[in-house]
Symmetry: C2
Subunit: 129 residues, 2 copies
DNA sequence: CTTGACCTTCCCATGATGGTAAGCCTGAAG
DNA sequence: CTTCAGGCTTACCATCATGGGAAGGTCAAG
């Protein structure tokens, strides 16, 4: 299977597949005589794993660790759980940060009449904290 | 006032002040005979505005618009409100996305015993959706 | 044998920020 | 007056994940 077909079947773009290979997230794939990359079912399996981990917000670096745990039959599930928990904390921190932004901004926005007049609590709020 | 002092007094790094100037977010500052940037109170005011807008998650592009509204005495507060609302929507979308990730990941994590045994619902969840 | 769709590598861009290096300027202490 | 530290200048590189595009090789159908 060529890279385009692999991309279609996994939802990972050809561009990204090459990139993952270049940063060592994927092993170098086999090549045809002409130098085309050739993908096996195992490769697709890995790509789908990466795709799902990305969709949960893991960084490529974290995914590298997850992949090696995934491929290690003697892994301790505790190691995976530790990684996942740390990522949940990161997500929580980000969510809190965004919610604080959102809430403050909404407060300002609600008190802005939003018509043709120039006075605007939003700009006032940005001018002084 | 030199750039370092301006940076200290506004919390915006020298690096970023120069960057904001280079992308046209700030007007080119005055220069001393030797070419040093010189900042006035007005400049500091602008820098603090940018700093606060950044802390609410506005992009530099959005801030460019906010700044020009801020400096326009004939602005319509409705224009500001529209911008702010759009940004709130963006924040909401991002928060929803992160919460979906978080909740799914937590679900997987809770069902993982997290000890020395290799079987792990987190990895299983990444393997198949 | 041509054509179009695919593949290859290589370079550039994004957005916000930080780092570093080479070289100039300023002010204070000797 | 010289020297030295520390601040300033520009210019380039890096991050992170992703996409765009160019220049050129390959393959299959007509």
């Amino acid at each position: 299977m060529n890279i385009g077909e692999a991309a279609n079947s996994t939802g990972v773009s050809s561009k990204m597949i090459r990139h993952y290979e270049s940063i060592g997230l994927l092993e170098n794939s086999k090549r045809s005589a002409a130098g085309y990359r050739i993908y096996s079912d195992t490769d697709l399996h890995n790509l789908r794993f990466i795709k799902r981990a990305r969709s949960l917000g893991f960084s490529l670096d974290q995914i590298k660790q997850l992949l090696s745990l995934w491929q290690d039959r003697k892994r301790a599930s505790g190691d995976v759980k530790t990684l996942a928990k740390k990522h949940i904390e990161e997500l929580d921190a980000k969510i809190l940060e965004l919610r604080a932004m959102r809430d403050l901004l909404e407060e300002l926005t609600e008190s802005c009449h939003g018509d043709d007049r120039p006075d605007c609590p939003i700009l006032d709020g940005l001018e002084a904290p």
